[in-house]
Symmetry: C2
């Protein structure tokens, strides 16, 4: 239970202050932050809140969106990624989650977009390295290939990450995004030393109407979390386990109740039997 | 244009008789049939209709659903697949499209479900072989992994197909299902001699509310059809190119208009410039 981290998106209506308080009330030791609510609170104030509460920041979401062709918009994005790296430093986390972006408007050249992601990471890596921040490439479910993330498999993310030192460019293993992948055992083993974040949430059916809000609480869907957690364990990952759920129904629920349910389901579906501590 | 085939699902409200007439009116030479409307018409009558109209049957959809654990339900499915093979023979097509099925209710053992697909194909292959029918394994977009098709990549489908003669077990390359796959060039090349069907439709955004009806007309979305068609060409495939679109808006449109649009978009987005004949 000590590795369990609340990703802020799971309790989307909480600001940083409320989420920090909620974690403390629930006895959690870690939190995953998002830049928008951090900006709302002010970066320095957000850093102070998590520090004073004694919480680890397991990750900062998100940098990325690196698929635009060269030009002013791409330059702006690169600058914004540098700011995100600085914010990660200020918040005390080494893990900046990178959502790499979809195809540019009207553009069908998928291979080109993927190459520009690799190029963007290469451009940002030295800046991240100097500041001790690791760019954590998040392969996304192929559902999002067109409009959110052109990296569709862990293997593909590793192909890019391996061009850089392991503590500069890593990968995110998010059960929702990777559970279907027939290569997953081999690729998680290959990711040894590069797993920057392990995130859990479920794949539920019938598929909710909004693709972005289609994730479910562990146990409500089809994913074998224990199996994937053991693969990640076997690859040497011993960091925090974040619960990140985009779901309209959960967002409409009292956030303290969501956190309580999250703890219960984490013990029931993610931990091995016997690992679950007394509540 | 001679290779263009209307998959019945694209004009979902047409029965076999209407779809056959519609193909003839539009000057098409091939049609992809579905078992339900074929049963509605009667298999013998459907066979007579396509034969009298001089149409090729490019495929019959669908066999499959082979993920159930051993027991009476699985035996029924195997029997039903044998009937589907017989129907393919009667309709004059060698291509039976196999939608392999999702996870059984409440079952999270994805590897086990995938193994049962391989076992089911091995059980059906001799029956198909004796009758000259090819089981065409359709890898499906990972979006459908939980509830429709546990084969998520072309590579995975080929792993199973290659355990059998190439004219007994083949694969379907459907642009909607495979366009995102970073391995697609290598896997289509590997599929040489096993491509039983090439189907086209587009990936559109924003993602429609119903996952099953999320496909779009070529040109309305993000897929580079010409690129994928050339890969399939280079792998030696010279059979029909089926347009199969599940889309509520198209289904509400006059089917003759849908067919006309399909021909136009096929010329514009799938064929090379200069390949398009005079209308």
């Amino acid at each position: 239970m000590r590795r369990l981290s609340l990703n802020q998106k799971t309790t989307n209506r909480w600001g940083v202050d409320e989420a920090v308080d909620g974690c403390v009330r629930a006895g959690l030791e870690a939190i995953g932050l998002w830049r928008e609510p951090v900006h709302d609170a002010g970066v320095a104030r957000a850093a102070e809140l998590v520090h004073d509460a004694g919480l680890r920041v397991s990750s900062l979401c998100r940098g990325g969106f690196l698929t635009a062709r060269e030009g002013p918009a791409r330059r702006q994005t690169i600058d914004d990624n540098r700011r995100a790296i600085d914010e990660a430093v200020e918040l005390g986390t080494t893990c900046l989650v990178m959502v790499v972006g979809g195809l540019p408007e009207g553009d069908r050249d998928l291979a080109g977009a993927r190459q520009r992601v690799a190029d963007g990471i290469a451009e940002l890596a030295p800046y991240a390295r100097e500041r001790g921040v690791r760019l954590a490439l998040e392969p996304m479910h192929p559902l999002y290939c067109a409009d959110r993330g052109v990296l569709s498999t862990l293997g593909q993310a590793l192909d890019i990450a391996e061009q850089h030192p392991a503590d500069t460019v890593g990968v995110v293993v998010d059960t929702f995004h990777v559970w279907w992948d027939p290569e997953i055992e081999r690729q998680i083993a290959r990711a040894r030393g590069r797993i920057a974040s392990f995130q859990v949430c479920d794949w539920i059916t019938p598929f909710p109407g909004d693709a972005l809000l289609s994730r479910g609480m562990m146990g409500d869907g089809h994913i074998d979390f224990r199996y994937l957690r053991r693969l990640v364990d076997d690859a040497g990952y011993d960091g925090d386990i974040e619960v990140e759920i985009f779901n309209a129904e959960l967002w409409a629920t009292n956030p303290d109740d969501v956190v309580a349910l999250m703890k219960q389901r984490y013990a029931e579906y993610v931990l091995d039997a016997g690992q679950s501590p007394a509540p």
